[in-house]
């Protein structure tokens, strides 16, 4: 261990000599890569959000010219400022793709995982730093490819984020670009997930046994397994769809297909359902990839701000493991209406009901953790607290979708859109905001403004519900998703059409509510309150490192002495006893001379 000390110093010199490009752009340091991932991910979230703002405007005012920007987007998209259905489809497909694969996952896994995970296990970096860099750049290229697909002839992919054949096979060239983009993104997540798993297994510091890992680490560890094992089948499916499009094969194309009155010239014999199976084999676990890191963040923030150990840490860990395993055998609940038969439906309906159990256990444990805590209502905690009921709504509304009979009515309606957005938008996105406010001081050495944070939180909470709650009502009334006119042409949608305006104006309200966040994010870099290594008085190991941590993270290799959340342990000098601090004297009054004696609590 003595050796490591010595290298730290020489390394820091080395670090200084690396120069701008290798320090900030082609860096192999997990913290820089984490921040690159986070910033790129946030940018794509913003971009995907903008696409959706256009869509929402169209849904509220179908067929009317767009104010201001209508003319800018060109005749192939908005002739005379009026949105073409084809363009709406592009926006929809790309909104879904970008939000999932380029926004949330890169921020939650690439950003938070890369930045926080090595720090929490006391490691100097990821196990394979260069692979880590490759993972980021592969993601970046995938993003560029996806973005450029808007400019190929015929525009971006139009077949939804699910890319169901045969439509996707006969679609314009944007779909090919989409598939290529996915190959880059899949490669990136493959490199990342191997790295995460090896890092957790191999680089935990002395004393950090699996049952002492912070819950955030568990959530990332399990997520990495999902990415590792679920993505390759989609990659296989993407290859096959590429072959169908480029080499004219018929993996997904049945014989005798007639499109616009013309027989499609293929050898036939393929199965469109094969794609759906392969796609959902990835995409259901992907749902947990979107949610597990969020649960990890929320667990950290809640433990820290209730000043209590997490309630039922072990049952949470076992639940996550069980959930990950089950997530591989529920995929066909997305396919109840494909005619796959009642036996299959019964099986997948049962597994779906079973998988809801561990999710309920985790949420219940988090709720019970609040019980009797002396809660600090700071910005990260507000977002974490709001996550619980929002995710709860998202989860509970999923149960009817998992029951084949109820799904017959609800499938492909706005109810589904409402359901999963409650999970990923006011759910995951809120958790990600909580994480940003919580770890910002570690990354920058400064806190974000509490005032602006609250100004961000309360309107966001309001508008999120303003957008997504009406979707349930529309969906129950039978309004289909993916309608470019928001349902105007359907008589049964008539009574609930006014909700389109409510949702659209809420969406624009949500956009404005992000301004305090953007200002806060940049302003706090310069003006934020300066903080030490442990501003939240937290217990996990990342708070031992200086803020921001130098290259190599820790001056001395840390040791984990105890479980991760020893808050308010009776008989202790302070209300938190960090994992990285050796035992204090158990009996007797606290020693006033002790360096780690409690700083006065606010």
């Amino acid at each position: 261990m003595g050796e490591n000390h010595e290298t730290t110093h020489s390394e820091e010199h080395h670090h200084q000599e690396l120069g701008f490009w290798r320090t900030y752009v082609f860096s192999v340091d997990h913290k820089v890569i984490g921040i690159q991932y986070a910033v790129t991910g946030l940018s794509f979230l913003f971009f995907g959000f903008c696409l959706m703002l256009l869509m929402r405007w169209q849904l509220a005012y179908p067929g009317e010219p767009f104010p201001l920007i209508g003319k800018l987007l060109g005749d192939s998209r908005m002739p005379g400022g009026i949105m073409l259905p084809e363009f709406y489809n592009q926006l929809g497909a790309m909104h879904g793709t970008i939000m999932v694969f380029l926004g949330v996952v890169p921020l939650a896994v690439g950003g938070f995982g890369n930045f926080v995970l090595p720090l929490q296990i006391g490691a100097p970096d990821m196990a394979f730093p260069r692979l880590n860099m490759a993972s980021y750049w592969s993601y970046f290229l995938g993003g560029v490819v996806m973005f450029l697909s808007f400019f190929v002839p015929g525009g971006a992919a139009q077949s939804g984020w699910t890319s169901y054949p045969p439509l996707s096979v006969i679609a314009e060239s944007g779909q090919t670009v989409w598939l290529l983009g996915m190959v880059f993104l899949i490669t990136s997540s493959l490199l990342g997930s191997v790295n995460f798993i090896v890092t957790v297994i191999q680089l935990r510091v002395e004393g950090l046994t699996f049952m002492r890992l912070p819950f955030f680490v568990w959530s990332q560890f399990v997520t990495a397994f999902l990415l590792l094992l679920a993505f390759p089948p989609l990659e296989a499916a993407a290859f096959m769809q590429l072959m169908d499009r480029v080499a004219n094969t018929s993996f997904f194309m049945p014989a005798g297909l007639v499109v616009s009155g013309q027989l499609v010239e293929v050898s036939g014999g393929g199965s469109p359902l094969l794609w759906q199976h392969l796609f959902w084999f990835l995409a259901h676990p992907e749902v947990y990839v979107l949610i597990l890191p969020a649960l990890g963040i929320v667990a950290e923030v809640i433990a820290n701000n209730t000043r209590k150990p997490l309630w039922g840490y072990k049952s949470m860990v076992y639940s996550v493991l069980f959930l990950a395993f089950m997530s591989f055998i529920v995929w066909a609940h997305h396919m109840f209406l494909t005619g796959m038969g009642t036996v299959m439906s019964a099986f997948f309906q049962t597994t779906t009901m079973i998988i809801s159990i561990p999710s309920v256990v985790i949420i219940t444990a988090l709720l019970l953790s609040l019980w009797g805590g002396s809660i600090r209502f700071n910005t990260p905690m507000l977002f974490a607290l709001a996550f619980l009921p929002m995710f709860g709504i998202g989860g509970l509304t999923g149960l009817p979708l998992g029951l084949a009979a109820a799904d017959i009515h609800l499938h492909d309606t706005y109810y589904v859109i409402g359901h999963f957005h409650y999970v990923v938008a006011p759910g995951t996105i809120f958790a990600l905001f909580a994480g940003i406010y919580y770890w910002y001081p570690k990354a920058t050495g400064r806190k974000m403004s509490e005032f602006l944070g609250k100004l961000h939180f309360w309107p966001s909470l309001l508008f999120m519900n303003g957008i997504f709650l009406p979707m349930f009502i529309q969906g129950l009334a039978g309004v289909q998703r993916r309608l470019f006119d928001g349902g105007v042409s359907y008589a049964h949608a008539e009574p609930v059409l006014f909700l389109n305006k409510v949702m659209t104006h809420s969406a624009w309200g949500l956009a404005i509510a992000q301004l305090p966040f953007v200002i806060n994010f940049f302003l706090s870099l310069k003006r934020g309150e300066k903080v030490g290594s442990n501003p939240w008085q937290a217990t996990t190991i990342e708070w031992l490192a200086p803020s921001p941590p130098p290259h190599g993270n820790f001056a001395n290799v840390p040791v984990a002495y105890r479980t991760p959340y020893e808050y308010s342990v009776p008989g202790q000098a302070s209300d938190y006893h960090p994992q990285f601090e050796p035992d204090r004297r158990v009996a007797g009054p606290p020693d006033p001379g002790e360096p780690e004696a409690a700083p006065a609590t606010a």
Binding site: L203, A236, A237, M243, A247, G269
Partner: protein, 198 residues
């Protein structure tokens, strides 16, 4: 401190692994899922088809048998090259690794002959679903073969300098490359009967 990442070479006592080896096993797990999905697709398409052709009525079984032997031999020479490093005889390593690379070249040449014979007979991926899955599976496997060949050639040539500076790490690399190579070999051992014989 990035050079100070623990267990890049040494084995971590409680897990019994070093990072490279664990990483390689995980990568292979994902590869299993990749090829597994393609095989699953094969089964689904075949079950759903009325007139699936017998593989040997279209494909060249003798050539493929030859290729199977070539690949298995290359796996053996790969093991020998690693074993030579363990016994510290670098010259033997060079020899066996060189043989491995040569055998891979032979495999690829035979594969090319097979492919061009198909094209000569106007048999393309678009001709039938059987040929589609044949070309896709063998091409994807072929890409893995080429990747493995590149790594092996590197370890035989410029990469072998490491033997003098960090012999243990070099041996680990050869071992990891070997794991990958055996996997590629194993995929072929599944591919061969499924496509050519069944």
């Amino acid at each position: 401190m990035s050079e100070a990442i623990p267990y890049t070479v040494d084995i971590r006592p409680d897990t019994g692994l070093n990072n490279v080896k664990l990483g390689m096993w995980l990568f292979l797990a994902s590869e299993v899922m990749l090829f597994g999905a393609l095989f699953a697709g094969y089964i689904l398409l075949r079950v759903g088809s009325e007139d699936w052709p017998a593989g040997n009525s279209i494909l060249n079984v003798p050539l493929a048998t030859l290729n199977t032997i070539v690949l298995i031999t290359s796996s053996v020479t790969m093991v020998m090259s690693w074993a030579s490093l363990l016994r510290k005889s670098f010259d033997k390593y060079r020899l066996y690794m060189g043989a491995t690379v040569l055998l891979v070249v032979v495999f690829l040449v035979i594969k090319t002959i097979e492919y061009s014979a198909k094209f000569d007979h106007h048999l393309y991926p678009s001709t039938s679903t059987f040929l589609a899955i044949y070309f896709t599976l063998t091409a994807l496997h072929g890409l893995h073969v080429i990747g493995g060949m590149a790594v092996n050639a590197y370890l035989w040539g410029p990469g072998a300098k490491m033997w003098r500076s960090a012999p243990e790490q070099f041996t680990n690399r050869v071992e990891a490359a070997g794991l990958f190579w055996h996997f590629v070999d194993l995929v072929w051992i599944f591919l061969f009967p499924v496509l050519y014989l069944l």
